[in-house]
Amino acid sequence: MKKTLLASSLMAAILSSTVQASDIDFSGYGSIRGGLLVNDDITPQYFGYDDKVDFKNESLFALQAKATLNEKWNATIVLQARGEEDFDLEARWAYLSYEYSPNTTISLGRFASPYFRNSDTQDIGYSHNYSRMPKAIYLGEEYDIIEGIRIMHTTLVGDGDLTFKGSFGSFSGEVSNTGFELDNIIQASVDYTYEWFSIFAGVLTADASFDNKTSFDNGLMQSLGGLGYSIDNSTVYNPANVAVYDMQDLYADDDRTLYLSTGFTIDYENWLFNAEYATYGIEDSFVEETQVMYVSLGYRFDQAVVSFVHQDYDTSFDYDPANSADPYINAFATGTADSLFKSDAYDAQGIHFRYDLDQGVALKFEYTIINNDLADESANLVTFGVDFIY
């Protein structure tokens, strides 16, 4: 509701009669992408494909309308329809910008949340040389949106440009049909770009709350209820009616989450090198830390770019919440952690092609081998598609 209101009021602002039609710029981007697993011992999480070809999951269309209200102010809305959401139209970006000076812009509204370096451009397939951004970092989560304020400042340092970006805001919505909230999102990043290289560092913190109490409670009752365990007001009682566990240790309720990321790129004499590393976690939860990275080496030919990508996704987690004196409870807590996170770790190696077919149209192809660390099994993924801007 909130987002609909925000989006429609911005739409109204953009289309209001005081703005001449000629002051509105329309542009957009999109992707038609298909993919499938061609050899699958496993169906890897997060990659979004199985052994049947799928053209919907990662296809998307976006239209940007930018209205220049005057010298200092403009209003922008990006309407995006994603295959994965049945092409339902969503206001991915909707913001009002004030240009304080040519080097400083303040924006208010809804943005893609900059968890990582390319989070705000990960949907624009045309903007990068991969078939899709390495999944180890760019999961494309539903919550990578922020509603709040953003400030951007650029300044010349030496012969290069330093860009500072800071955001403050919140997100509330549903993730996998579960209520999810991020409050007090504070984000800051710096990016330094010189002719042929650039480096980046970013930090984001937020208070995360999942509405997952019921599912944890139900899980416990399903596994241990038959033995006579019960839950009352998040305290677990054993069959002798002795309090043995506080379910709060499993819930994520206003727990602080911290994202740190860094990266650098080199674009020299048609050689392209790109690396990103990030670490994140929610305090007081099972997942102590998720560490993700990718490195890629590419070469630019006349109309084509070939890149080799290595990516790695790793979680380190402890069993701190399994702190009960009751072994059954601990088994449940440990089992929950294992089933949620243990199978996730993987590394993957792939080759990506980009071929610039025409003005604003690029063909993409990817072949990636994904190795699950725990099961020591692998899957081979093929994706292909067309990215365009207009």
């Binding site: 990006v78 893609a112 451009t121 624009i124």
Partner: protein
């Protein structure tokens, strides 16, 4: 065979003379600022948004498929058309800037530059008139 050779050579010459045409970067004749190659590059990549006098610079380009555009992007910006468009897509769709405004022809470019003291553009050097000031050639 001979005819084929001649035709082929002529076509080759034509193509190379088109792609080797010189491009002039032009500003309003009232503009007294100096524009070195670095500044021009930074303006076209959206890194400089205002002239030294504080006026917001309006950046103009010819169409993507004009030979002058390709020549300018390759020599002045060191970017192919697709690299240029990829670069700008990251900026334009994330609220960081507005890509250069397209004008349809050399003549329209001259008119636009003539009427806006804080504008910058480029045209085929053969099309330059006394109405505008050339600050660099590529």
């Amino acid at each position: 065979m001979n005819l084929f050779k001649i035709t082929f050579t002529t076509i080759l010459l034509l193509i190379s003379s088109v792609s080797l045409a010189e491009v002039s970067v032009i500003v309003n004749s009232a503009n007294t600022e100096s524009f070195d190659e670095k500044t021009i590059k930074r303006i076209y990549l959206g890194k400089i948004k205002a002239l030294a006098n504080g006026e917001k610079v309006s950046v103009l380009t010819l169409a993507d498929d004009a030979p002058e555009t390709e020549q300018f992007r390759e020599s002045a910006l060191n970017k192919s058309n697709s690299q240029f468009k990829s670069y700008w897509s990251k900026i334009a769709f994330t609220g960081k800037g507005t890509p250069p405004t397209e004008v349809a022809s050399n003549a329209e470019m001259i008119n636009a530059i003539k009427s806006d003291p804080s504008s910058i553009g480029f045209i085929n050097s053969n099309a330059v008139t006394g109405d505008v000031k050339v600050v660099a050639t590529f």
